[in-house]
């Protein structure tokens, strides 16, 4: 039994840490920061004005979650009596890899939040509780081996994110973003649940392995069960496509990303997407891993290929035309979903190599995108966020360190050496080519040229343009927490970019645990 607790320690650490955080928030000094609500009542926010210490505590909690994931990884989860929680939670190296990435991403986001919330006067402790519990949901999503757990975990993660967006209650944009994201997110969840219900109806199973076994046992001829499985799968995929914001189910993403407080945006772009890909790969390979469903004929690969091509192309084209950097990064994250889906497609022929490539890509992408948003945070201050390209003009001289960090992360997102993004892209493209999906790979490569254009635009504005004299510009903020998040992220991006061997091998081992 104690083994089991050790095996589940990433989840438990973060979960109980979250409770601890709530206690710290409630029992700490009363807020020194009161505001008046419209009807004159004094509104006291729990944990207000203490975002630095709470943020630090949340970061410690999440990083210890990452550490315990590593610990369980090294201890070999298979020996830890995990069959007790199977199939609800599959504690294997696949899920531990994801819980590691998710905890690191969450920890970086809370670090960003610690600096951001105070600077922009929304320093409220709930943010950190929400991040921590959303991360619990995300980790559980990575662990989930049963549709039931998938839903509970997915909703835990999503509800937290909806609220994190709406946290800035005075801002109409944040309210709108929260509303849009909430509506479309719940709609997607409902569609996915209907798909899951159909799968249950056809197979009588909710655990992924059981569904997979049932599908494998289906006869060749068209039967009611086959049709129900296919329709259920389609509805599930549509729901997942919403969560990973693949075109044409991406409408919510740019608005939600732009309206949300930037630390939330980075959490959405990194952790939510990573967790969604974790569960997507597991569902596709375990439940729909039957060769008949992994074919171009009737299975999921053509759907994924369409989503991938659409996501890359449309998002890249639109991203190039944005005037807001935050929105550009939102579209860029959609296009990255496209590259990742390309790797998912390749899993039809090479499950292990392709899923390893997707996992590696996700690790690099998470860190780079959080770093990019973090650098964007650092470029603004005191209610004036740096959002547009014009705000970045001359940052290379106003705040060289922020500009250098931003440049590094943007280069990583563009997939150029010596960064993590480069190896991620290389690995995904290699998997695609190995799976003989040449045209998909060529489309991807052409897209990365288009992508390079708008990433370079950031460099151009930071280093080559000057702000218009007299125009209101965003003053770079000072925050040791944001800076430390950037230092960690930059170190990781460069380390993975120069010596990717260790992480590559981890991804390969984790992917092997999936099948």
């Amino acid at each position: 039994m104690i083994d089991l607790f050790i095996a589940l320690s990433p989840l438990l650490t973060v979960g109980f840490g979250g409770l601890l955080l709530m206690l710290a928030e409630a029992l700490g000094k009363p807020a020194n920061n009161t505001g008046m609500s419209p009807d004159g009542a004094v509104v006291v926010d729990a944990g207000a004005g203490r975002s630095e210490e709470l943020g630090l505590l949340a970061t410690v909690i999440l990083f210890s979650g990452a550490a315990s994931s590593m610990g369980v990884w090294l201890a070999d989860p298979a020996t830890l009596g995990v069959e007790l929680v199977s199939p609800w939670l599959q504690v294997d190296r696949y899920s531990l890899f994801f819980s590691f990435i998710l905890c690191i991403s969450g920890g970086l986001c809370t670090l960003l939040g610690g600096g951001y919330l105070e600077e922009h006067k929304i320093d409220r402790g709930e943010f950190f509780t929400l991040v921590v519990f959303s991360t619990v949901g995300a980790i559980a999503l990575g662990f989930a081996g049963d549709l039931l757990t998938v839903f509970v975990a997915l909703e835990t993660m999503s509800l937290g994110v909806y609220c994190m967006i709406g946290l800035r209650r005075s801002s109409p944009r944040a309210g709108e973003a929260a509303l849009k994201y909430f509506l479309l997110g719940s709609f997607a969840a409902a569609i996915m649940m209907f798909g899951a219900a159909l799968l249950y109806a056809a197979t009588g199973h909710t655990d992924l392995a059981g569904i997979g076994a049932f599908v494998g046992g289906l006869g060749g001829e068209a039967s009611g069960e086959t049709a129900m499985v296919i329709v259920g799968m389609l509805l599930m995929l549509i729901g997942m496509a919403f969560k990973i914001s693949a075109v044409p189910f991406h409408m919510w993403a740019p608005d939600a990303y732009e309206g949300a407080p930037t630390p939330t945006t980075s959490f959405m772009a990194a952790a939510v997407k990573t967790a969604a890909f974790a569960v997507l790969l597991r569902i596709l390979l375990i439940a729909f891993g039957d060769p008949r469903l992994m074919s171009w004929g009737a299975g999921w690969p053509p759907v994924m290929a369409c989503l991938s091509v659409l996501s890359m192309t449309i998002a890249n084209v639109i991203a190039g035309r944005q005037s807001s950097v935050k929105r550009m990064l939102a579209y860029s994250s959609i296009s990255h979903a496209g590259y990742l889906l390309m790797g998912v497609c390749a899993a039809m022929r090479l499950p292990e190599e392709a899923s390893a490539s997707v996992m590696f890509y996700l690790a690099g992408y998470c860190i780079s995108t959080i770093g990019a948003f973090g650098a964007l945070i650092l470029c603004g201050s005191r209610g004036k966020e740096a959002v547009s390209y014009a705000d970045l003009a001359g940052i290379g001289r106003r705040h060289p360190a922020a500009a250098a960090a931003f440049a590094l992360f943007v280069i990583s997102l563009a997939g150029m050496p010596p960064t993590a993004g480069f190896f991620g892209k290389l690995y995904v493209f290699r998997a695609t080519i190995d799976a003989e999906l040449y045209s998909l790979a060529i489309i991807g490569l052409l897209n990365s040229i288009v992508g390079a254009y708008y990433y370079m635009k950031v460099l151009v504005f930071m280093y080559m343009r000057e702000p218009i004299p007299g125009a209101p510009i965003a003053i770079p903020m000072r925050s040791s927490m944001v800076v430390s998040a950037l230092i960690i992220a930059a170190a990781l991006v460069v380390a993975i970019g120069v010596l990717p061997g260790a992480l590559l091998e981890m991804a390969a081992v984790a992917a092997a645990a999936l099948s």
Partner: protein, 609 residues
Amino acid sequence: MNALRDAGIEMIPYLIAFVVGYLMPWRKEWFERFAVGSVAALSVAFVLGLWPDKAVEVAETRPEEWGHLLNLIVFLPLIAAIAVVFLPRQSPKLLKQFTMVVLGVDFLASLALLGVPMSEGWHFQYVTEWVPSLGIRYHVAIDGISVWLVLLSTLSTPIALHVSFGSIKKRTKELCFAFLMLHGAMMGAFVSLDLFLFFVFWELMLVPMILIIGIWGGVEKIKASYKFFLYTMAGSMMMLAAILYMAWVFHSIEGYWTFDYLALKRLVLPEDAAFWCFAGFALAFLIKVPMFPFHTWLPDAHVQAPTGGSIILAAVLLKLGTYGYIRFCMGMFEGPAWEASATLAGVAVAGGIFYGALCAWKQSDIKRLVAYSSVAHLGFVMLGLFSGTHAGVSGAIVQMINHGISTGALFLLVGVIYDRRHTRQIADFGGLAKVMPVYTALFVLVTMASVGVPGTNGFVGEFMVIMGTMVSDSLGRHATPAAVGASFGVILAALYMLSMVQRVFFGPLNNPKNEKLTDINSRELVAVAPLVALIFVFGLFPNILLSRMNDSVGATVRHLAEGRIAYEAHAGATTAKLRPKRGGPWEAGHPSPPQVADVAVALNAGADK
């Protein structure tokens, strides 16, 4: 006691990193310095801990060559670039001195490469594992071809930077960073024998170069840097696809991953695949050269770039395209390269030599004129390569070096008058010989070299290219027309260069603004002197170049012919095959299959136990 001593020895890298970090003149407080030092030590620990420990034995080590020399040449600038980030931007003098010292050391180190005769086979080879699970190795070596390009770069970069320090006063820190990074990346690209490593360095050059164009460039700098970036990116993406495809084919035949040039060179692909892979590589290199339809980025980039950037661009960066064509296109796709050479030679003559020359003639901007003359000169280089003969290829390489020297010098000299007059229009000048006699003399000299007057270096290369083209097998019946066309190109070059010189330096001094111009100063003279000296050295004693490259060129031409025969014997096949190992010095360092084919499988097997 012994254990203590060993531990002490192991601590040395960390201690050095800590001390260097601590001494960085960045912050004043001791604890900030301490933190920087600790971070430096930690990063060393990180690198040492993550580096795969399975070093590969090089097949044949030459006792007289120091294996780490190339590593030093490549990584000294790169590490220095990182160090520049931590130097204070408030003291430009320190930055300049630091950078110049690093580049000087790099140049001296590269001179040591001349210390050994460039006999058959790879020299100064160094191989180690980099990313074992993807089969990526760190494999560097030089031969008689790349040694000259390395030397050309180590010479050009300090000159370009010296010139830049004269004219650029703002943002010195970024300038030093960009130049060091660019230099290291170029060095790396010239010496890599692992396709992946080559690609990494190839991409690494991009960002510093666009920074150089975009930050310190002219009015249209941003457009020019976009253009440069997107063109290069487009080419390199296609090259990446081809590299990945070839690695995969090799894996499916041999069962292990490698990106090694020597291994992938052995692949004989079926016709379609070979053509598309060749096209992917050729596109990347021809854009970089640049050859006719893809040359449109070059005039913009040259005109907008600061003088130092133009020198680097002309002298070294373009050479990466031609070098890549020799090494990778001709080295790995002998069949398609042979088949395409007649067509491409036609393009090189008509689109490069003729069209470039005619465009140059029409220009009113001196720098633009020189840029188009580059297109014409590189047409010669490409023609020599397409000829596939010993004389043609040697001539092309000689011409590469010469173009680097003489066009670099031309850009430098154009920069000199631009700094004084802030215009480059030919019409704004006239009769400069009267006020700037030394400058005029130098300019005329360099023009002579560029035109290819006998006795200067330009003559040797062009002559050999034309000779080689004349007898070329690969061009077949197109050989003679191509050679004749190229000869006309030489005449055209004389026409446009000399008419420019005539209009700028001779005739009446009728623009009053030009009357006060000062002659070339000592800083500029120091920069241009080595180039002018080299013009004569290589013009009078071309054997310095030819003797060292002889064996390598011979091997290139020989392998090209052999590979074509293997390719034609394989015609009609639908699957790829692997040519047997040739053996001998040119395959020293060929990767061997790892103990267990797939690392993931190996690790899994370990996990199951």
